[in-house]
Amino acid sequence: MGKILEVNNLHTSFFTHLGEVQAVRGSDFSMEEGDILGIVGESGSGKSVTALSVIGLIDEPGKIKEGDIIFDGKDLTELSYKELSDLRGNDISMIFQDPMTSLNPVFTIKNQMMEVIRRHTDMSKAEAKQHAIKMLEIVGIPEAEARISSYPHEFSGGMRQRVMIATALSCNPKLLIADEPSTALDVTIQAQILDLMLSLQKEIKTSIILITHDLGVIAEVCTSIIVMYGGMIMEKGTVDEIFYEASHPYTIGLHKSVPSMSRKSNERLVPIAGSPPDLLKPPAGCPFSPRCDHAMQICLELPAPMFDINKTHCSACWLLHEDAPKVEGIEKGEAKNG
């Protein structure tokens, strides 16, 4: 299996009245066909902007400043808006956080789904309708043939997200980007939606980028994980590596701040002190350094390069440098480009 997506040195900024907000500052990652890549990070860490950059939907005043996005052998940053829109919904699809507002309230489900199907295929109206009904059945909408003529407000939140997924997958995309697809839903529905995505992923062999701030979701679903903070990638690795062998103080901090069943009832959660950096004036060094317990002088001055820990696992932390003092719980790796 080859690489489906390769993002190199992506910089995306928003040029506001106040100045340039550097939302993504040099993301590098790639994913194999059939991967489910999780991107975690807190609000404002650049995860959604990374995804929107891939699909070419950065709105004014935002702009991709630098970097390549190689999808299926094509550099998406070189394509015109029109060429990109031929890809969107066809080869790359995206579903969003809030299913309540993501469907157009004044058109029926049938109308909206058929529009997308007919945009990207040569199907006749009747064929497109049949295909839409089939997609709704696949995502588990009961009585799809009757329900397809409903308006979005006649569906519940979970149902609407299923409709969104059905629409997004209706043209067999090679890549599905799901931006917090379950965040706005209640917990039981969340699980159903995630299960649905997993089973569909196996069936139609789509690669998925799953953006979330919910570590539980990531652990359950993903094959590999990117941890983002302050517009930069802090750590990359497989699920096991990120969960059991985390080597970046931020990732470790995240794990400590998650409640767990095995924790004693009187044990407190450990929050990460401080708040995320202002991306209008990002810190010169590692974005996490002001909140990091182990920060050294160099951390404040220079962002850490990616240190390879093994073939799949790497981490942007100076503590992994061979000259750094040893800190418990963090194993050293080889500098890739430092």
Binding site: Y81, R88, G89, F96, N104, P105, F107, H153
Partner: protein
Amino acid sequence: MAKYFIKRFVVAIITILIIATLTFVMMHSIPGGPFTREKALPEAQIQILEEKYHLDDPLIKQYGDYMAGLFRLDLGPSFVKIGVEVNELIALGIPPTAKIGLFALILIVILGIPFGIISALKQNKPIDYIVMFMATLGVTIPSFVVATLIIFVFAGGVPALNWLPTFGLTSPLGYIGPVLALAGYSLSFVTRLTRSSMLEVLRQDYIRTARANGIREYKVMAKHAIKNALIPVITYIGPMIAAIMTGSFVIEKIFHIPGIGGYFIESITNRDYTVIMGITVFYAAFYIIMVLLVDVAYALVDPRIKFTKGKS
């Protein structure tokens, strides 16, 4: 749905009755009467006239008689214009008023909505600034100033631009001035409303969804955005239709148009009781019908609106 409309119809009738009653009470509480003149008429003559028009009856009986007439759609005779029925007066005054109103309305819809949309799509570009500048002027300058300016500039004040007649509707050109003056405010308001509503809709998640699904940009606008953006515009346009179609007394006065507005004002100064009542009730009924039509149009545009509290 039928049940809903029957209910609305009953409410409309009650509303008209209340309006008629209030007008009746207020009208009779103004001092003076239809036969009060600067040069007082002889006592005996007034008595004969009052007897003829039943103004010597107790008020409550006059009220009852009037309401009975209203149910037969008979608005009674004018007290001042001898031998003219109020029904005839309305039939005479409405055509010129309604013609101007209709043209103004067409102008508002076919210019206001597209201007608003273009302005929203070109937000913060020169064309947006120009349209918004004009629209702000249109909203702030009163119609009588616009009317006077039109007459001054295009009807003789500037010799090179002497294109329009100063008054009357005898030539088709005569419509231009009153239509522009009448449409000015609403045209500007609709433009602004459409623009802001469109900008609001363009920020919605479903527009992003349409784009993320690769829908072509013109279709995102023409299909997904506009239908949603028009919902608030319809709310405004409905009652506006009633206001525009019933015309403006001031504009009719300035352009010397024999419309219903002129008769209305004249009837108030003359204490022409039946004309006051007749035109008020007519306006009220027209307004109520328009609001009802808007509610129907609403349901056609927005599927979330239902007339009955049924299961969904």
